[in-house]
Amino acid sequence: MDFTPHTPEEVQAMLAELGLSDLRQLFADLPQEILEPQLRLPEPLGEQEALSLLRSLAAKNASAEKSFLGGAVRPHFIPSVVPALMSRGEFLTAYTPYQPEVSQGVLQAIFEYQTMIAELTGLDVSNASLYDGASALAEGVLLALRQTRRMAVVVSQGVHPEYRQVLATYLHAVGAELRTIELAGGLTAPAEFDETVGAVVLQNPNFLGAIENPSSWIAAAHASGALVVYVTDPLSLALLKPPGAWGADVAVGDGQPLGNPMNFGGPQFGYIAVRDKLLRQLPGRLVSETRDVDGRRGYVLALAAREQHIRRAKAKSNITTNSQLSALMAAVYLAALGPQGLADVAAAAVAKAHALAAQLASLPGLELVTPRPFFNEFTLRLPAPAAVVRAQLAKRGLQAATPVPEEYGDNLALFSATERHSDDDLRSLLDGIKEVLA
C-alpha cells in the first residue's frame, strides 16, 4: 500500500498536462545505466498485516516498565495528558516554525519550555532543545572553547561514559585535547587547571550516583579562566541546588526523565542552558517574545545569525532539526505536575532508591560502592560480572543491574528506582537477586 491519492485517470491527466504519457518519462534525465534498480525489499503489507507484524516483533521484547537499570534513562510515570496533548496533529506534523504567524502554538510552547529549563537550572537562557544529553554535552563544551578561545578540556570520570565517548568524537574532529580526571572513592578528585583549559566538565549526581560538592572544581576552573559545563539529570533539580547556584556557566543533560518514554534510548531530548554572557555562542533554535504590527504579543525564532541556514560554515553549530516534540512533552509534564508535583516525584524516587539500596546492600556479597549522599541511582559491587547477573535476572522477568564499564572497577552494576516502583516491585528484585546469586 501507499498513501497517494492519485487515481489512474488523474495520473494520466496530469501526465498529459506535461505532454507525457508514462511516469517513466519523468526520469528520462537520469543516466540510463543506473535507472530502475530492482530493490530487494519484503513484499508490501496492508496496515492490519503491518501492525500484526510489529506486534509480533514487540512480543520478542520484555517490558522494562519496572526496570531498575538507570544510567540516564529511567521508567518514570508519564501522566496521560502528556501523550494526549502531544499527539495532536498540529504539534506532531508541523515543521520547524519558520512562519511565525501560523506557528504560534509551537513557538509559545518552546518559549515556555525555555523558561522552565532556565528556572530548573538556575541559569539565564535555555535553547529550544538538542538531540540528547551526550550531544548536548559536546555542544556545551564546543561553546565554552569558542568563548575562551582555548583548546583543552578536562572532564571528570564521573560523567556518563557514553557522554564522554561522544564528546571525544566531537573534540577529535576539531583537534581539541581531552583530559580525564579519575574518580577517587566514587567522587571527582580535586584538580587544578592550566591556562590552556577552556572547559571543565563534571556531572552531578555523577555516573555512579553520588551527589558531588562541585564548589572546589568550579572555583579552580574559574580561577584559571575556564568555563564550567555541568551535566545533570533535570529531575534531580527539583530537590538539588541548581547548576547556576553552584556557579556553573553551562548546564546540559538528558530530558528523558521529564515526561518522555524510555524508547530504548531514543528519542529523548538534550537540554542546554547558559549564562547571558554566552548567549551569542549558544547553538540551536531560540524563541523570543515580540509584538506583531497590531501590538499583540507573539513569538519568533530569534538570533538566527548563529545558525547554519544563515551563517553556513561560520555557524555556531550545524544543528537544524533538534528534538522539539520530546522537549515539549517535558514542558507539558512540568505544567501538569507543577513545582510541588515535581518535587514529590523526585522525593519518591529518592526514597525508593534509598530503600532499595539498603535492602540490596544487606545481602551477603553485595557492596554499596557509591558514597552517600546519592540521589536515585547507585552502584553495587556484585560477586559476579554484572552482565551475567543482568541476564539471569532478565530470565526471571526482572530488568536490573546495568553493567558499569571496567574503568570504574570490576563487577560493578548500576541500579535505580523511581516513583513507579511499588514495595512489591522492590521485594521481587530482592528475591530475584537472592536466587541468582544463590
Binding site: 501522566p79 568524537t169 522539539q324
Partner: protein
C-alpha cells in the same frame, strides 16, 4: 495587552495542583541528600489544574498549522502525510530500556538490523548506522567517516578542503566545519547544475570530499553525475550524498550506483516520520565498504537467529550519540517501508515528481517565473511575477490557509519560492493552490499595499523580528 494569549505562567495560581504523584509519606530528604546540596527554594514552575493544562495546549495547537491541517509545500522538507499506523507501531516499543539484557530486546534489535539492511538496499550502500539523531547529525557523522578514511591512508593532514556547491543546504558547510574541514564553494552553472569545468578545476590533492544533493536544491537532477563522480574519484576525492532530497528517486536510482561513497538520510522526510515542530528526527548514514570500518559503534549484527550489538570496529570514529539513536523514529520508518515495499516506494517517488512537475507547469501558466524550466524532480524553484516579493507571497498564502513554500533558498535564485508538494497531495489540492497563487499574484500587483501587509487573518500578524533580535526576551518574567 488585552487579547494576548496567556502563558502558562500567567495562568498559574499559587497552591493549585495538577497530577498528584503517589505519596511516600514523610521522608527526611535532608538526611538522604545532604542539607547543603538541597535547593533553597523551589523552581518557579507554573501551578495549574489539569483542565487548565489541557485547554492551554489544545488552544495553542489551534494557533499552529501542520500537514494534518493544511497543504505544506515547504521545499527540501518533504512534508508528506505521516501515517498513523507508524505512530501505533512506535507505541508498542516505548517501554524498553537501552541497557536491558540484549536477549530481552531481540524484537527491537531485529528492527534495527532489518532497517539497516533496507536502507542499504534503497540507497545502494554496503553498511548503515542508525545512530545519528537528525540529518545534520548524519552529515557530521558522514564527514567524520571521510576524515578518518583519509587519515587511515596518511592523507589526513593533506586533504582538508570540502567542496560544496553554492546551492547546497546550509547544514553542509556547517557540518564540514564541525568535522574539521575548510569549505570551498563551487559555483553552479547557468543550467542550475554543478559546472563540471569549475569542479574539475577545483579538484586537487588538498580536497577531501564533495558534498552534493541529487536532485539538487533547485529540484534538478545533476545529469553529468557519473562523469562528475568519476573525475573526483580519480583525484582520490570522496563523494558525500545529502539525502534530504531522496524522496525524488526511491526505486528509480540509487546514490550508491551513481558512485557516492557516503550518504545520510532523513527518516523524518523521506520515510514519513513526523517532524514534531522541529524533531525528533533520525539521520542514518550509509557507507560503501571502504568507509564501513569507520562507522560509529555500536551497529547491530545477526548471528543465526540472534541479533547482537557489534562494537568490534577498531577504526571507528567513536560514538555520535548516547545509546543507539532515535529508535522510536526507526520503528515508524520500518513500518512505513514494510507497508509500501519496493513498489510503493517507487510509486511514491514517481508521484512526488509528477506533482512537482504538474505544479511547476500550472504555476508558470499562472504567471510565475520558473528560472530553470525543465523536467524537475520532487521540488522546483519559482519566482513571483514582476514587482512581487517572495516574502509577501508567502505571507499572503497564510490568509488563504496554506503553509508557504521555503523562501529565499537556494541562495542562487533571487526571490526564490522553493516548492515541494510531495506525493500525498491530490490533484485538486494542487489545482486549488494554483488558483490561490494566481489570485495572490493578480491582487498583489494591483494592490501592493494589500500584499505588503498580509496576513490579516492569522492568530498574530507580521511580527517584529528586528526588536526580537536586538532585545531578545527568551524567557517569561513577571511584569515589573
Amino acid at each position: 495587552m488585552k487579547g494576548d494569549f496567556p502563558t502558562l505562567f500567567e495562568r498559574s495560581r499559587s497552591g493549585r495542583r495538577g497530577t498528584r504523584p503517589p505519596s511516600v509519606g514523610d521522608v527526611d530528604l535532608a538526611a538522604m541528600l545532604g542539607a547543603d546540596n538541597m535547593r533553597s527554594e523551589p523552581a518557579r514552575l507554573p501551578e495549574l489544574d489539569e483542565l487548565s493544562v489541557v485547554r492551554h495546549y489544545t488552544n495553542l495547537s489551534r494557533r499552529q498549522v501542520g500537514v494534518d491541517t493544511s497543504f505544506y509545500p515547504l521545499g527540501s522538507c518533504t512534508m508528506k502525510y505521516n501515517p498513523r499506523a507508524s505512530e501505533a507501531a512506535a507505541a508498542l516499543f516505548t517501554e524498553l530500556h537501552p541497557y536491558q539484557d540484549p536477549e530481552s530486546v531481540q524484537g527491537a534489535l531485529q528492527i534495527i538490523y532489518e532497517l539497516q539492511e533496507y536502507l542499504a538496499e534503497i540507497t545502494g550502500m554496503d553498511a548503515v548506522t542508525l545512530q545519528p539523531a537528525a540529518g545534520a547529525h548524519g552529515e557530521l557523522t558522514g564527514m567524520m567517516l571521510i576524515r578518518a578514511y583519509h587519515e587511515s591512508r596518511g592523507e589526513g593532514e593533506q586533504r582538508r578542503v570540502v567542496l560544496v556547491p553554492d546551492s547546497a543546504h546550509g547544514s553542509n558547510p556547517a557540518s564540514s566545519m564541525m568535522a574539521g574541514f575548510v569549505v570551498r564553494e563551487i559555483p553552479s552553472g547557468a543550467d542550475g547544475e554543478v559546472d563540471l569545468n569549475e569542479l574539475r578545476a577545483a579538484l586537487g590533492p588538498e580536497v577531501a570530499a564533495i558534498m552534493l544533493t541529487n536532485p539538487n536544491t533547485l529540484g534538478l537532477f545533476e545529469r553529468k553525475i557519473l562523469e562528475l563522480i568519476d573525475a573526483a574519484h580519480q583525484q582520490g576525492v570522496q563523494l558525500y550524498y545529502d539525502g534530504a532530497n531522496l524522496n525524488a528517486i526511491m526505486g528509480w536510482a540509487r546514490p550508491g550506483d551513481m558512485g557516492f561513497d557516503v550518504i545520510h538520510l532523513n527518516l523524518h522526510k523521506t520515510f514519513s516520520t513526523p517532524h514534531g515542530g522541529g524533531g525528533p528526527g533520525s539521520g542514518p548514514v550509509g557507507a560503501k565498504a571502504h568507509l564501513a570500518p569507520f562507522l560509529p559503534v555500536p551497529t547491530v549484527k545477526r548471528e543465526g537467529e540472534r541479533y547482537l550489538f557489534d562494537y568490534d570496529r577498531p577504526q571507528t570514529i567513536g560514538r555520535m550519540r548516547s545509546f543507539y539513536g532515535n529508535f522510536g523514529v526507526m520503528v515508524r520508518a520500518y513500518t512505513y517501508i514494510r507497508m509500501l515495499g519496493a513498489a510503493g516506494l517507487k510509486r511514491s517517488s514517481a508521484l512526488a515528481v509528477l506533482n512537482a512537475n504538474y505544479l511547476r507547469k500550472k504555476l508558470k501558466d499562472a504567471g510565475y517565473i520558473i528560472p530553470h524550466d525543465r523536467l524537475c524532480k520532487h521540488e522546483f524553484v519559482a519566482q513571483p511575477p514582476a514587482g512581487l516579493h517572495a516574502l509577501d507571497v508567502a505571507k499572503a498564502l497564510l490568509d488563504y490557509g496554506y503553509h508557504p513554500p521555503t523562501i529565499y533558498f537556494p541562495l542562487i535564485v533571487k526571490e526564490a519560492l522553493m516548492i515541494e508538494p510531495t506525493e500525498t497531495e491530490s490533484q485538486e489540492t494542487l489545482d486549488e493552490y494554483v488558483t490561490v497563487m494566481a489570485e495572490i499574484a493578480r491582487r498583489g500587483q494591483e494592490d501592493p499595499d494589500w500584499i505588503s501587509h498580509t496576513p490579516y487573518s492569522t492568530p498574530v500578524r507580521r511580527l517584529d523580528e528586528v526588536s526580537a533580535n536586538r532585545h531578545p526576551r527568551l524567557r517569561w518574567k513577571p511584569e515589573e
